[in-house]
């Protein structure tokens, strides 16, 4: 479904990614794990069209993504729920959700999608008239995911959805992510919290200093001694 082949990405003059390749299959749940600053966010931002790779290619369902602007990428069915959520604080919850269905195809079925998002996050329905800036952290994360779903994505990328949230809320949100996946949406998850990430994903890639150093089944990685040492800290 999504194929990223050997991309190099620069921030200005600084190279951030070296020869990164990865794959997400139809209906799959995949995680990118690694330390802060390893380049996880850069990968998903590049896929979503915020950054352009200097070399390499990205293909989604047979369409080249690497030169496409973000609005085209969204229309093709790839949506990123960004780090720190990117909520429009001054606008109402409903307006935020409506903006999620910005491109024409999703705008047509906006009302049905809205109902299904409310089904996943009933809380958003109660708060629909409220200004988004007044929501709590967990509610904002739900809104961000809900807004992402409004674009009717085939692939949903989530950047650190657990950031700054209480464990119980994180658990909740990850339940919903699984539910979204069951409805046929592929998931590409960026997480610093390796245990949760590997708990959710079927496969995972480990990033270090802008390079992919390892990948495999989540279960195998969970029991890998090196991974345990480096990321799980329990030994």
């Amino acid at each position: 479904m999504l194929e990223v082949n050997n991309i190099d990405v620069y921030h200005g003059n600084l190279q951030a990614l070296w020869d990164v390749s990865l794959e997400v299959g139809e209906g799959e749940r995949v995680s990118l794990i690694g330390a802060n600053g390893a380049g996880k966010t850069t990968i998903v931002e590049t896929v979503s069209g915020l950054l352009t790779p200097a070399s390499g290619s990205m293909v989604f369902n047979g369409v080249r993504l690497d030169k496409e602007p973000s609005q085209r990428v969204v229309r093709l069915g790839v949506c990123l729920v960004p780090e720190e959520r990117g909520i429009f604080f001054g606008m109402s919850v409903l307006e935020n959700l409506e903006l999620g269905a910005f491109h024409k195809k999703s705008r047509k079925v906006k009302d049905e999608t809205l109902e299904s998002v409310y089904g996943l996050f009933p809380l958003l329905k109660d708060r629909s008239r409220q200004v988004a800036g007044t929501l709590s952290g967990g509610e904002q994360q739900m809104l961000a995911i809900g807004r992402g779903l409004m674009s009717k994505p085939k692939l949903l990328m989530l950047d650190e959805p657990s950031l700054g949230l209480a464990p119980i809320i994180v658990k909740n949100i990850f339940e919903v992510i699984k539910q979204i996946n069951r409805s046929g949406v592929s998931i590409l998850l960026v997480e610093q919290n390796v245990r949760i990430a590997l708990g959710l994903a079927q496969r995972a890639y480990i990033i270090e200093n802008g390079r992919i150093i390892q990948h495999g089944d989540a279960k195998d990685l969970l029991s890998d001694e090196q991974v345990k040492d480096a990321y799980l800290g329990t030994g």
Binding site: S48, S70, R75, C79, L80, I87, F88, F102, H103, R107
Partner: protein
């Protein structure tokens, strides 16, 4: 007698202030959404005034009927200049973007008056339709037809803009872009197009204000900067972001000016500028710190 004077002063302040508000919303819009401080805003206004003057003298089109034509002309005008000069700058880091776009607009503000002088000479141009000079009394206060028309135009345009920004998908995309550029891209908004339209809309608003200026006062090639400064004062009073805020701040400035004109005479204009400087210096966020 005293009441009449006070009421008249306020009415005058409100009618001129509504026009100030209209001038300021365009400037506020472009700065709020794209962080471009268009210091050529007053020059766009000047050009709008001259187009209305042309329409009136050459084609006998009443300035009020000419409003949509001027708006369209200035919209296209703004779009062309944005495409050629500004669109390449928006990708830069915010501080550099703000400075360089301001400098480009500053360059335009030097060029336009010279071109206008060449096209229309340096003479004052005004429009006097048949109803100008007419007025009607209410409660001992005289209200001129032209200022009243100006007030109505300003209110209608600002209401329409408010509805556009809050009720339509386009308007929501503009507000979203101004709040969070990156998130706007991620929901699929074509930010470059939003910028183009926003800038052009700002120019169109300036053009509409120019029609009011040519009707109630007059246009000269060199007047642009004075109007830009007027708009800046209003925007500073209002804070950025809300269209209604700019409108009411415009009225506030209009009333302050017409009241202080009684006591301070020619220093009135300097008073507005003084308020501007004080707010600028003593509000840590700079003028348009978000409320």
């Amino acid at each position: 007698m005293m009441f009449g004077l006070v009421a008249q002063t306020f009415i005058n302040g409100i009618t001129i202030g509504a026009m100030y508000g209209l001038i300021a919303v365009g400037l506020s819009l472009t700065f709020g959404v794209m962080k471009i401080l268009n210091v050529a805003h007053g020059e766009f206004l000047m050009i709008g005034g001259y187009i209305a003057f042309w329409l009136f003298t050459r084609y006998d089109i009443d300035p009020l009927l000419g409003l949509p034509l001027v708006a369209i002309a200035l919209f296209l005008f703004g779009a062309v200049f944005y495409k050629i000069l500004f669109s390449g700058l928006v990708k830069f880091h915010e501080e550099i973007k703000m400075k360089n776009t301001l400098l480009v607009a500053f360059g335009l503000s030097l060029i336009f008056p010279q071109v206008a002088r060449w096209l229309w000479t340096a003479d004052e141009r005004g429009i006097t339709p048949f109803y100008s000079g007419g007025s009607f009394p209410i409660l001992g206060v005289r209200i001129g037809y032209v200022p009243l028309a100006g007030l109505i135009v300003a209110v209608v345009v600002i209401l329409a803009l408010h509805l556009l920004l809050t009720k339509t998908y386009f308007g929501k995309s503009v507000r979203a872009t101004s709040e969070n550029y990156k998130a706007a891209k991620l929901v699929g908004i074509n930010v470059n197009r939003t910028y183009l339209v926003t800038f052009s809309l700002g120019a169109a608003l300036a053009g509409l204000a120019g029609v009011l200026v040519v009707m109630t006062q007059a246009v000269v090639p060199d007047m642009g900067m004075a109007w830009t400064i007027k708009a800046l004062i209003v925007v500073v009073l209002a804070g950025i972001g809300s269209v209604g805020g700019a409108f009411f701040a415009g009225i506030l400035l209009g009333v302050i000016e017409s009241v202080s004109a009684i006591f301070m005479g020619p220093y009135t204009v300097a008073l507005g500028m003084g308020i501007f400087l004080l707010i600028l210096m003593f509000r840590p966020q700079g003028l348009f710190g978000k409320a």
